[in-house]
Point group: C2
Chain length 539, copies 2
Amino acid sequence: MSYSPSRASYEHSFRHLKASHVLKGLASTPFDLTVEGNLSPNRIERYSAQAGEFKLLFGTERVNDDVLQALKELAQEAHLVEKMAAMQRGEMINKIEGYPSENRKVLHTAMRDFFMHPNQGKEALKATEAAKKECDKLKAFMSKVDKEGQFTDLIQVGIGGSDLGPRALYIALQAYQKPGRRVHFISNVDPDDAAAVLKKIDPKKTLVVVVSKSGSTLETLTNESLVKEHFKKAGCNPAEHFLAVTGEGSPLDNPDHYLKSFYIWDFIGGRYSATSMVGAVMLAFALGFDQYMNILKGAHEMDRIALQPDFYQNLPLLSALLGIWNRNFLHYPTVAVLPYSQALLRFPAHLQQCHMESNGKRIDRMGHPVDFDTGPIIWGEPGTNGQHSFYQLIHQGTNVIPIDFIGFAESQLQEDINIQGSFSQEKLLSNLFAQSIALAKGQKSDNPNKVFPGNRPSQILLGKRLDPFTMGSLLAYYEHKIAFQGFCWNINSFDQEGVQLGKVLAKRIIDQFSAKRQGKRAERFPEAEALLRHLDDLQ
Amino acid sequence: MSYSPSRASYEHSFRHLKASHVLKGLASTPFDLTVEGNLSPNRIERYSAQAGEFKLLFGTERVNDDVLQALKELAQEAHLVEKMAAMQRGEMINKIEGYPSENRKVLHTAMRDFFMHPNQGKEALKATEAAKKECDKLKAFMSKVDKEGQFTDLIQVGIGGSDLGPRALYIALQAYQKPGRRVHFISNVDPDDAAAVLKKIDPKKTLVVVVSKSGSTLETLTNESLVKEHFKKAGCNPAEHFLAVTGEGSPLDNPDHYLKSFYIWDFIGGRYSATSMVGAVMLAFALGFDQYMNILKGAHEMDRIALQPDFYQNLPLLSALLGIWNRNFLHYPTVAVLPYSQALLRFPAHLQQCHMESNGKRIDRMGHPVDFDTGPIIWGEPGTNGQHSFYQLIHQGTNVIPIDFIGFAESQLQEDINIQGSFSQEKLLSNLFAQSIALAKGQKSDNPNKVFPGNRPSQILLGKRLDPFTMGSLLAYYEHKIAFQGFCWNINSFDQEGVQLGKVLAKRIIDQFSAKRQGKRAERFPEAEALLRHLDDLQ
């Protein structure tokens, strides 16, 4: 594992890899799941892999042994596992060669490398040491909170990665919440978002966690001010209620204004920050510090799995390459993530960010525009709910939608009763399995409205039970699946230049509003002025 | 408006309409928004339409006057407004010619036709009369609830259309909620969903609304039983707490088991049922009966707008045709719905159902497989949150994603403060406008990572303020936009055969589980048995 990706290994173009040519050829006749006997029990049994707490079932993908062999070769040819090792070791992979770029390490895995076999990379060790220090601070702080018993509520103020990942984890693990604790989130700059939360809490009993790495995120600072005003009006001193999660030395890192600061670093991307202090403070408050540690343990286990050179042991790698097959060779533009678990209600929204912000790119790591498709559009809702919603299109629409199903053998709360001969959890899993079979095999009929074309691919990730450890693993599984796809396309999955232009223009339009309100003139911006005039007709 | 669509008018194939040929030609050189001066203030002003409480701005779509003229001709050639009139009048349009099909009227508009100018169609009048009777029952029931003051909480048990639309409306209008009232939803057959809600309520103070038109929805009956058990254990008689919303004479329509039954009919599709009793009971409890009426008034206003023959007065028609341009001529597979309003958090999930279940079809009304694309994949999250999530891909990914932006001139709660020179609502609108401009115009740069290709189309629907009336209008706007697209493609937007196959297979797999648990044998289902064996490895 001492391979270090050379400049040359980043120069590969995905389209020109040998395995890409093989796959392109194979894609002209993908495996036909609708042929009687093709989706055999033997296939379902054989096309599966197990690691950690999970099994990945992919018999319902449109692959055969030749495709799997070529995908395996693609992984080797593009040095995917070596690049994962380089990332976890702390090499500077957030970079575009030859152009100004972020030039950062990518070390979210170091945030949870406290257990067996810590990574021995020098940078990784340093990052883990820093993370451990924050964890110890948090543990001490939380044991004080637990002892004093003043706080019942916590508000997390953050947006994007400071909101979506932590919120998805919180919702997923509410079943394990400490009694008498409630968590709220304020993210949107929409003033109604903050107002709705503030109606529900008693400031005297509430902690506020303000999360911004730079300490300069417009939405977060705006919401912080709104919340601060509210606390002051209620006679509370914000400095006794507000915590900061931020970069050391940022404007938020100020003991005069915050009860405590917890640190993050530039090598933790927002969308990969849920296991860092960004999620930690809130999760340790809601679930207890030990359960937060269990999340880290689960994530760490998957980090190790992602380093497995054996294709069939490395679940995120295998899933990533099945996704590449669907995206680049069968040309499907979206992926639906459909968890059969209501607790994972907001997990697709987190993945939407993590995936689309990471891999929605149009240039490769050398700055060349790509001539193939990169990250797909990610969307989804929990099943069985989705079955009563958009599954009509999935079965009979004119677009094919590859699916990531997620399911668990057991329910979280184990409060299940037998109704009409079966338990709810059995009904849930039966529906999941039924969908994957129905989508794959389809149905013939003399009534054209009852024809299901079939050959609609899916894979199933199965876990035992959604607990903090498993949730940590699941989170890391997708982080690494996304990273592997980015490595394969040879793009930089760790920057987000595409969000800048909108920010710059928004600032100029805010000036238009202010000027207009004050009867002044701002710097000319004709398109924006025309849009603002439309508002007048409504007021 | 006495035109009745003949069999012939349903025989048109969308691809062979004259206007389709014209549009196909125009699509080879769509309007280039990136050329300096092309997105002019004059264009932004001129490419707008206003009706009711809304303005639709479409200067940032890739259309010019020729395209708009051809879209207008397409609307005429396909008799879209006449078909809308036929629907609202009560003709039997839920039908596939020549094959067994549902053969039903489609009369959700009759559920709110109590105000000015009621539709004079005989079937519509009958339906409105029936709906009015239920409204009167509900009014009397709610005034009793208000007077007695026993109930503080209400649980809505339903799935699909009995959940998504009502839930989206409830979340959107929480700012208008009656003090001391709380609403909860149980939909998923996942037992953790019900357990989480039951932890929060006191059965003695709680009403339960069970919603199922047929009275046989698996998930809903399962959850009803779970909730009933819980109430009995708490010493409450379910018959004093449970309400049914169902078809007259269904298994749920039983005064021995329910405090009251409210009726719906087979001409109300689940995904179009939010303004019927399906949403009414919960909304009248949460907001008060009068506010529920305001929702109906707003919806009714948009129903009338959808009958306007003038293309530029009929907002849902105009928006539908711009969508057809993007879908069938520029070939974009998805549409993102991005409301700049946190209150509309779950509105995209409702639209996902309404759109994808209605128009995710592969045969036309004559039973012929279509040779063009029908309903796109619908997804979305509120802005500005999405900007910190998936907008990277929208700006710089390899797929183009047409966008429906939704914004409001004013915030709901008007609890807004000036921070750094501007109010939050101004920041919100500035971001919305900035995104539409940035996506359209793009950006050139010597740094390839800072290049934005532009020409990414969007439209903006602007309202004054999101109140119950406006929400009703917004709901109906999308209902009719969807119906117009279905009319244009000449498909049946009102059935959902595509959900049947999964249901049938799920029942067989449930039998597998039961048999296995009891050490018996069920009817052979080899694929399912193979999937079940995978579970054993996890247990």
